[in-house]
């Protein structure tokens, strides 16, 4: 069997898994942005849903070109984030988490009851036009932009707010403004991820973007580590692959999945990718060698 044939078979079996790694990476990055500003927001699944429905309706009903549909799938959640962010971002910690979860539920119920969104049936027959390179390109641009942001005054302002809001405010940082910015950026990334996702899964429904998804997105970022961009990418990749790798365990799959999560949270509270800890471990080994 030639390589090409093997590859074709492999691709046919696993392309949705590979696609989902890319989309999940974007979702993990979307929540990384809000977490990097100290905001525990669980609205990103809802923003993903808004983006998915917006993009799908534009390609299905209005036959818009894919790039425009995707862009709209990013812009609309960003606008919604702008509107709901102003009142809710005054909250902090678990209160913000609860408010944003509530928002997610409101979005789900609205989508469930509208005609244009197909109600409980959702949208069927979304054109499968997402290509692997769309995901690679958009993920690449996202990573690049976030990496630049991190090294700028905006990234420092986010980090300062996360560490100490009062001190950040008195250093001249417009705390409310930057929180809103982080919230809006996160919503836009999640929305585009939703648009990409909808265009390779054929169907989308209101329950794809509910509480469970919100927690999944958070888990990917926290599992990988949120001290930089690499953590969320590692977390989303591992958690996308884990169900496939654990396929042999059949019924125990979910239990083992959960066990791995618990172990990581217990023993690596800052996630798998924690540069400070890695450096510390490497430093210790280097010392041993010298001795």
């Amino acid at each position: 069997m030639g390589f090409m044939e093997w590859w074709d078979g492999f691709w046919a079996t696993y392309n949705t898994v590979i696609f989902s790694i890319g989309v999940n990476a974007m979702l993990a990055l979307s929540i990384y942005v809000t977490l990097s500003c100290g905001l525990l927001s669980l609205a990103n699944a809802a923003f993903m849903g808004i983006g998915a429905y917006t993009a799908s309706l534009l390609t299905m009903q209005f036959e818009m070109p894919f790039p425009i549909a995707l862009a709209a799938g990013g812009v609309l959640p960003a606008l919604v984030a702008l509107v709901i962010g102003i009142p809710t971002l005054r909250l902090s910690g678990v209160y913000l988490a609860m408010a944003t979860l509530g928002f997610g539920e409101v979005v789900r119920v609205i989508v469930l009851n509208l005609d244009i969104t197909g109600g409980p049936m959702g949208l069927n027959g979304v054109p499968p036009i997402t290509e692997w390179w769309h995901i690679v390109l958009i993920l690449g641009v996202t990573i690049y932009a976030l990496a630049r942001l991190r090294r700028s005054k905006t990234g420092r302002a986010f980090e300062a707010i996360k560490e100490d809001e009062v001190a950040a405010r008195l250093m001249g940082v417009n705390v409310a403004g930057y929180k809103l910015l982080a919230f809006v950026i996160g919503a836009a990334i999640a929305g585009v991820a939703g648009g990409l996702n909808a265009h390779y899964t054929f169907t989308i429904g209101p329950n794809n973007y509910g509480f469970e998804n919100a927690v999944d997105i958070l888990t990917m970022a926290v599992f990988g580590g949120t001290s930089n961009l690499i953590g969320p990418m590692i977390g989303s990749t591992i958690l996308s692959l884990l169900p496939e790798v654990l396929r042999h365990f059949k019924d125990f799959r979910l239990a083992i999945n959960g066990l791995i999560l618990i172990l990581v949270v217990l023993y690596l509270p800052k996630g798998i990718w924690d540069p400070r800890r890695i450096r510390a471990v490497l430093g210790r080994n280097a010392e041993k060698k010298v001795k």
Binding site: A145, R156, M171, G172
Partner: protein
Amino acid sequence: MLLQLKDINKNFGGLQVLQGVNFNVREGEIFGLIGPNGAGKTTVFNLITGLLRASSGSISFNDEDIGTVAPHKITERGIARTFQNIRVFKEMTLLENVVVGMHEHLDYGVTSMLFNLGGFRKAEKEARERALELLSWVRLDHKAHMLADSLSYGEQRKLEFARALATKPKLLLLDEPVAGMNPAEKTELMSEIVNIKQRGFSIFMIEHDMRFVMGLCERIAVLNFGKIIAEGTPDQIKNNQEVIEAYLGKEEA
């Protein structure tokens, strides 16, 4: 007048924390506010920096009213402060801490930031150089790339100074700058504050340590139970009967 507080009252519910507080801070001086614990000193700082709003009265800075201005806008106008319970950004390096203070003075657009253009690189480079210089003022430049978390208590206070100075203030508010410091650190900090003053900054400090206040301040106000009970030079304050009573209690006849 650099800073002027007029008839400031502040109530927390039924509790009257400040009653008719009046005082001025002049350009170029070191002004001290002293008083027993719970007298309302930190509340005064929180009012000036906009973290709290006065119940009544007015605060003006450079003859402009700042009573209703947002905290980050007050920082922009030229008031910076340090905190009684230290608030450095612990997970950042010293350099990053100070560069955060320059936030409002870093002027570059999104395009310049995204594509790493000249404007962005120049502004960031200048900010880092300036931050190193400020760290050298408080003799911390050799630790610029360490995490703030690794500093001693006294060093963290000095880092807060450098970070406050990075906002390019006209007036620097110091909230108990020597709390928790040993005598050697106190002496060192004294000379550093004098240095900062000589570079053209006005300083307004709250402090418990009498030797420190009397040695540094040109004028002192005394706050007791929310009221200013005396104002004057260190010598006048030292011999003021009411102040002695506030601190030591009344002598039995």
